[in-house]
């Protein structure tokens, strides 16, 4: 099995112009997400985290770059592979990890788990476990922004596997018809669980689905976090100024299996290694050096991330178990 050609379509090797001041915080976020995911995997392997655990390792540049194009009051709606999106939107590592541990101090009090992180304070409207079902919800948040004229934009993330389900089609149709300020970001990691793109889609180019709705589209590779930020910013700007949605396909790759229970045997070692050579973190780190960030400064940044995640692990470990559930809103 080889990597489908689509993944290479927009590879240009060119560096997007940036500065240390811009790139260093993005690199820091990506690194924190990776360390957070690694800590989660470790806790999962010893039974401290239950259920399903979907890691985003390898894809960090997409959520970090895209979210960097937002204002704090903009909304983000994501899938069940959303720890990184929550972190990128501003949710601290502590409550994310505590949630995975099922603790009372978790982001959603141990009631949601890995797939259902929500945070009102940062306008993170949630992680959803029904593929594509959250696309209309994101369109709904955008509808509310249009209704109120509050100028907010909603980002909606999903995988290429979502592009075949009804919720995706209906969400796109209504967002286009009503000109809702939403940016629909397909994180094309080339496998919907174990099924490669070419066995699940009749076209290689997911962004073509925008054409049927007269919607703007974009498509590019997602290894360069600054490039992701620039291109998503164009779509965000379009949404904010004209109200028009955009379907953006970002080509990426997850280094691990679909979830912790998946060894990823449907991919060759060579394929995975090839993508690891394009690791968005290594790429950003090399770029920072190139731009003049000192080895000491990078070491300091990395040590700081290590401390942050170790603290989050300690917090999750030491927090009390969840203790109450909430079936309904009870009105006074």
């Amino acid at each position: 099995m080889t990597t489908p050609d689509t993944a290479r379509v927009e590879l240009d090797g060119e560096q997007t112009a940036t500065t240390v001041d811009e790139l260093a915080p993005l690199y820091r976020q990506m690194l924190a997400i990776r360390r957070l995911e690694e800590a989660s995997a470790k806790a999962y392997s010893v039974g401290k985290i239950g259920g399903f655990l979907h890691l985003i390792i390898g894809q960090e540049a997409v959520c970090v770059g895209a979210t960097a194009a937002l204002r704090p009051d903009d909304y983000v709606v994501a899938t069940y592979r959303e720890h990184g999106h929550a972190y990128a939107k501003g949710v601290p590592a502590r409550p994310i990890l505590a949630e995975l541990y099922g603790k009372k101090t978790g982001l959603v009090k141990g009631l949601g788990g890995s797939m259902h992180l929500f945070d009102k304070a940062t306008n993170f409207l949630g992680g959803y476990g029904i593929v594509g079902g959250h696309v209309p919800i994101a369109a709904g948040a955008a509808f509310a922004s249009k209704y109120r004229g509050d100028g907010r934009v909603t980002l909606c993330f999903f995988g290429e596997g979502a592009s075949t389900i009804g919720g995706f089609a209906e969400g796109l149709a209504l967002a286009a018809l009503w000109k809702l300020p939403v940016v629909l970001i397909c994180e094309n990691n080339q496998y919907s669980m174990g099924t490669p793109l070419y066995r699940s889609l009749a076209v290689e180019d997911v962004s073509m689905r925008a054409l049927a709705h007269g919607m703007a589209r974009d498509r590019f590779d997602g290894d360069d976090v600054v490039k992701v930020k620039r291109r998503i910013a164009e779509a965000v700007d379009r949404a904010r100024t004209t109200g028009e949605p955009t379907l953006v396909e970002v080509i990426t790759y997850r280094f691990r299996g679909h979830s912790m229970s998946d060894p990823g045997l449907y991919r060759t070692k060579e394929e995975v290694e090839e993508w690891k050579r394009r690791d968005p973190l290594n790429r950003s780190r090399a770029r920072l050096t190139e731009l003049g960030m000192s080895a000491e400064a990078l070491d300091e940044l990395e040590a700081d991330v290590k401390t942050e995640i170790e603290d989050a692990v300690r917090f999750a470990e030491e927090s009390p178990a969840a203790d109450a559930y909430l079936p309904y809103v009870v009105k006074e």
């Binding site: 929500f118 209704y147 079936p327």
Partner: protein, 326 residues
Amino acid sequence: MAVISYREALNQAMREEMERDASVFIMGEEVGHYNGAYKVTQGLLQRFSERRVIDAPIAEMGFAGIGVGAAMVGLRPIIEFMTFNFSLVAIDQIVNSAAKIFQMSGGQFNVPIVFRGPSGPAVQVGSQHSQSLESYYAHVPGLKVVMPSTPADAKGLLKTAIRDDNPVIFMEGETLYGLTGEVPDDEYTIPLGKGRIAREGKDVTLVAWSRMVHVCTDAAKVLAERGIECEVVDPRTLRPLDTEIIVDSVRKTGRCVIVEVGWPVAGFGAEVAYQVQRHCLDALDAPVERVTSDDVPMPYAKNLEDEVQPQVKDVVAAVERALYLA
């Protein structure tokens, strides 16, 4: 008190709530320019403009989900299904999204949304347009389920549903839209979870909702001529269920017949029967009876359609069994 139709009562409820709260909007197929497939939204577009009365294309899952997303960030959508039969293509948004977001978000986000529209068999509209799906929705924690039987209840309950902070499934009787009745002139609301005694009686309790309340009161009139006094209890909302009003009545009469237009297997009446035996066993003088539609998809022919659904004679027969007269 003014005498108005069930349809007008629903229209008044939405109009009043939209006047009262700018975050309330209505979205659905044909709700605006067409004035509603069943004319329930008549005149609302003229009054509130296209911003708040939104004609949706045929995409129930899409616009139900848009309602959920809008509700999460503080709007109060009323999503109209042209019929609840079509809600089945939106059920992912109702069950997987609306009902679960409050719990999944640790109480940070709630979904104040009303899904409303006609429910239950009409007249000769065939298998796919004749279902009464309240048992589907009543099964789901996180949802409230309302099924009014009179114009006054329709208005008061819909106003409350729109103000509720949870998702509410508001099922209107498709054949009740033309039913007229007295409605209070002053503003009023009716709490969810409070039933109503539709007719007082001492011999047997009939529990029914939506159109079946009328079938039961008709049966009660027939039985009254034979000296049998039926008490008809209309819970009005299935979730939350006013178990108390049902239990109090059964403890008084010692007999209970539950009448629903849904199917028998796992129908909501089975839950009512459980509650009755659980709370009234020592007071029961006969097994709890159920009257339901036959266990089949609805046939088209009028005679067969009538035969499938609970009729007055079926209720009378069930009461006779409960009284050991049959």
